[in-house]
Structures are given as structure tokens and as C-alpha cells.
Amino acid sequence: MLVYTLKRLFLALLVAMTVSAITFSLTYLAGDPAISMAGETASDADIEYIEKLYGFDRPIVVQYFEWALNAFRGDFGESYYFRIPVADLLLERLPVSMTLGVSAISFAILLSIPLGVLAAMRPNSLLDRLALGISVVGQAMPSFWFALVLIVMFAVWYPIFPTTGSETWVHFVLPTIVLGYYATPAIMRLTRTGMLEVLGSDYIRTARAKGLPQHVILFKHALRNAVIPVVSLAAVQFGFMLGGSIVIESIFALHGAGYLAWESIGRNDLPVVQAVVLVFSLFYIVLTFLSDLLNAWLDPRIRVG
């Protein structure tokens, strides 16, 4: 287990470094950052001044390592727009995104795992068809459009939930539904097929031959095996959700990191954009690392090598 953990950890660090390099290279994607910063009317002297000021005149590798080291210490530089440290901005905005992400993945899991299990227990039943319908619709519906539809419904027709802002938990209800529904189809499908496969397996037949009651067979013997791949998927989906939160946050005007990133993209505020990309990526890396460990704990074939 220790060797396994160390291996995963090493891989995670390597991925994190690569991602940070890619993120850093965003700076140069738009051409010379000094020129874009100085504006089109700037003189050569202005540009040179900016290059010196921000260190753009040094070799890229040096710049990268400096940036990465600072980022590692939690220093992402200063926002071009707000003129305050990016880290402060992030600390203020991240909790909102995290709250949204956690509530959305919880919503998705609470909806999709029971539905997937029930659907697998009675294939082709009404419930199975309902589950299939939910997943087919969920896969095809653009989330930004679903969000707008909910806004129309709950702002105009039945004004129950607020549609903008992030002050209270009520503000998170609609965004949670939209973002959670986005992750539901994949998790539900995997739960259903996994459960079907497990229920048809020889060891479930053994469990039945032992005369175990139905709930023990389902929850002890079947679900644990069926849920192993679902854990990884849920972690992946959680990561995707943070990325997807940019759309949802901007529609519901939730002041999270996604909304910040969207605004900053519009303002060409590169340090902020880079920081958000990097933080979201790192979060995903940590998540998948944790889900690998959880998987190993659930599946003795990994744990006890």
C-alpha cells in the first residue's frame, strides 16, 4: 500500500508540473505579453519598460521556474486589473466554487447511484426507463440553457429560489441542480452497468446459495464491487464540474472562482486566469489521487498486491 501510494504521489507531482508549465505558456500564446499589456499605441520605450518591470526580458525557463516556485508558495502575482495579489482574490472566491462543486456532486451522487442501482435490479422496468430518460436528456441538454430555463421558471412563474447572487444557501439550489444534473448521466450509467454485471456474477450466486437476505446480497456483496469504478468517475466528474462551474457561475452571478476567471478572461487579466486554471487542475489532480487511494481501500486486489 505504501509503495502504491508513493507511486501515485510521484505521478501526481509530475502531472502537476506539466500542467503548470502548460498554464504558464498561456502567457505567450497571445504573442508578446509586454506588447499586449502596454497597448497598441505604446512606444518601444514603454514596452521595454514593461518587459523590465515584469521580467519578460529574461529566458522563458527562468520565468517559468520563478512563477512556479512563487505559485507553490501561494504567490500567483498581482492581478493586472484589481492591482491586488491574485491569491487574495482566489481565497475570497474559491469557497463559493467549492461549495457549489461539493453540493453539485452530492446532488449527482444522491440522484444517480440509487437510481442506477434500482434500474439494474429491475432492467426494462418503468423505473429503468425513467432512469434512462433522465440520463439521455441530461446528456443532451446544454447546461447554460437548462440554467436559463430554470431562471425563467423560478424567477417568473414560481419565484421560490433567487436566481442571482451567492449570499445564502438558497442561492445555491438552482446552480446545484444544473451542475449536478450535468454529472448525473455518466455516474448513473456506470452504476447501472456495473451493478448489472456484478449481479450476474458467480459470487452473487454464491451469496444467494448461502441463503443471505436480499439486502445483504445487494448492499454488502454487490454494491461494494459495483461502486469501485464509480468512485473514480465521481472524482473525475467533480473535477470537470469545477471547470464547468464557469458557465453556471456566470449565469447565476455566483461570485466564485469560475466567474472570476470568466471576467478576467474578458479583461485580459492573465495572472488571475492562470491561477484559476492551475488551481482547478491541481484540485483535479488531488481528487484523482485521493480517489485512487479510496479505490485501493475498497478493492483488496489493488491494496494487497
Partner: protein
């Protein structure tokens, strides 16, 4: 003594004359409700995109400023603008028809680019294994840890939004699922006896990849391609909706939803129509993808 192996009126399993494989396949295709519905919608969308230049009632860019935000005909609108007009007085039906071109073009082109990248990586990893596999798996992990929407938004914003840029960015970002699926499919096929046989008779690696591996992972490839096509269409719509995708005045459906969102409280149809169009197109592609998977691998159903 001689043994008689005459059937003596006992039918063996082989004697029950079943439909030929071709008939079976046809029966599966036409008996698959999802595939039929999805295929039907997809054909209509294609026809809409192809015939837009001839059948669209108006120029999708012509602004009739005196006829702005006209509702569609089933509410209080007129037959002149069946689906109404947008905030600049442009005919909604014509824009929806031309919008189908954009969505389909982006879907196909992005799925093709990412398909080439992902399949190459996946097949290489699956076939060669070892170091190649390690590198590809690493690349997949790196790619998966980058938030797609955010990176796509940032890149499009930095380079500037145009159809080509959006297609390229999506094509370069969405190859991960191809690589994952093709890798495991290739690994399975590689262990088959017929691949060993091909190696034994001295076939070259490219030849084995082309004639032994590719035909057997084609089903998977097509299924992933449909998924990614749907994914690309949704992403383009989201990017355009956020203003960092296809730029106005192009009639992208996502852009139409975005332009209509200021009117949602009173003119909900303005977002409903392009939204439903998007939903139907993506639904159709997904249904076709699921259908192909079911039809080509009936043993995988349920």
C-alpha cells in the same frame, strides 16, 4: 456395422434456419427505436443545414430594424417570420437553419481532429505498450486535469474567436476519450491469435495495425466519435454563449441563446428555439452513438 448419423427427424440447433447475419443486422438496426429516432432527427438536421441557402426564407444576416423581436407564428406572430425575429430583426428560422451548418461543421471537424490525435496515441499505446504506453497514459492524465471549458475560453480569448480557432481548440482538447478507449480496445485485440498469426507470417507493423487492429476497433471508434461530436457541439455552444466562441453575426445556436437571454422574462421563445435545436441535435447524435454500440455489439446490451 455402419453407424447412421441421419437426423431421423431430430432437428439439431444448426438445423433451425435462422436469418442470415445481414438480415439480423438489418433487423437490429430497424428494430432499434433510439437509433431510428436519432437517425431521423439527424437526417432532418443535415437536410436543414444543406438546404439552408436555397430554402431559408430570409437572409440570416439581414436586419429588419422595424421588425425586431417578432414572436413566432404560434403565439402572435405572422407567417412572414415563422419562428419570429431576433433583437436586430433577423429572421429566426433562417438563422436556425444556417446555425445547423455551424454546429454540424464544428461537431464533425472537431471530432475528426481529436479523433486523429486520440486514435494515434491510443493505438500506439495499446499496441506497443511499455514506455509508449506510459507516455501516452501520462499525456491523457495531464489533459484530463486541465479544465476544458476554462482553457478553451482562455485560449479563444487570447487568440481571438473565429470558427477555425474554435474548431482547432476543441479538436486539440477533446482527444482524451479517443485515446482511452482506443488504447484498451487495441490492448484487447493485440492479444488475439490472429494478430499473433499475422506477426508469425511476417506482416509489417503498419500492415498489422491497418488490416488486423483497425477494423476490429472501428466500432469503438465510431461510438466515441459520436460522443465527442456531441461534446464539441455543446462546448462550442457554451463558449459562444459566454462570448468567447464563434463571434457575431454568425448564427451559432449558443450565441443565439446568449443574445436572447436579455429577453427571457417576456420572450422566452427566444432562448427556447435555439436551445431546443441544440438539445435535439445532441440528443440525436447520442442516440445514434448508443444505437451503433448496441447494434454492432448486441451482447453488450443490458
Amino acid at each position: 456395422m455402419t453407424t447412421t448419423i441421419a437426423n431421423r427427424g431430430l432437428p439439431a440447433a444448426e438445423d433451425i434456419v435462422g436469418p442470415t447475419p445481414g438480415q439480423q443486422l438489418r433487423r437490429r438496426i430497424f428494430g432499434h427505436r433510439g437509433l431510428m429516432i436519432g437517425g431521423g432527427i439527424l437526417v432532418i438536421m443535415f437536410l436543414m443545414a444543406l438546404t439552408a441557402p436555397f430554402l431559408a426564407p430570409h437572409d440570416p444576416y439581414f436586419q429588419e430594424l422595424l421588425a425586431r423581436v417578432k414572436p413566432p407564428v404560434w403565439t402572435t406572430g405572422e407567417w412572414k417570420h415563422v419562428l419570429g425575429t431576433d433583437q436586430l430583426g433577423r429572421d429566426y428560422l433562417s438563422r436556425i437553419m444556417y446555425g445547423a451548418q455551424i454546429s454540424l461543421l464544428i461537431g464533425f471537424a472537431a471530432a475528426f481532429i481529436s479523433g486523429v490525435i486520440g486514435t494515434t496515441l491510443g493505438v500506439a499505446a495499446g499496441y506497443f505498450g511499455g514506455r509508449v504506453d506510459m507516455v501516452v497514459t501520462f499525456l491523457i492524465t495531464v489533459r484530463l486535469s486541465m479544465p476544458v471549458v476554462l482553457v478553451a475560453l482562455a485560449v479563444v480569448a487570447l487568440i481571438g474567436g473565429s470558427l477555425t480557432v474554435v474548431i482547432s481548440v476543441l479538436g486539440l482538447l477533446l482527444w482524451d476519450r479517443y485515446a482511452v478507449v482506443m488504447r484498451s480496445a487495441t490492448m484487447q485485440i493485440r492479444q488475439m491469435d490472429y494478430v499473433a498469426a499475422a506477426k508469425a507470417v511476417g506482416c509489417s507493423t503498419p500492415r498489422i495495425l491497418l488490416t488486423e487492429i483497425m477494423p476490429n476497433i472501428m466500432n469503438n471508434l465510431i461510438v466515441v466519435a459520436t460522443l465527442e461530436m456531441a461534446h464539441a457541439i455543446l462546448l462550442e455552444a457554451a463558449l459562444s454563449f459566454l462570448g468567447m466562441g464563434v463571434q457575431p453575426p454568425l448564427p451559432s445556436w449558443g450565441l443565439m441563446v446568449s443574445e436572447g437571454k436579455d429577453y427571457i422574462l417576456f420572450e422566452a421563445w427566444m432562448i427556447t428555439i435555439p436551445g431546443v435545436a441544440l438539445f435535439l441535435l445532441v440528443l440525436a447524435i447520442n442516440l445514434v452513438g448508443d444505437g451503433i454500440r448496441d447494434v454492432t455489439a448486441p451482447e453488450n446490451r443490458n
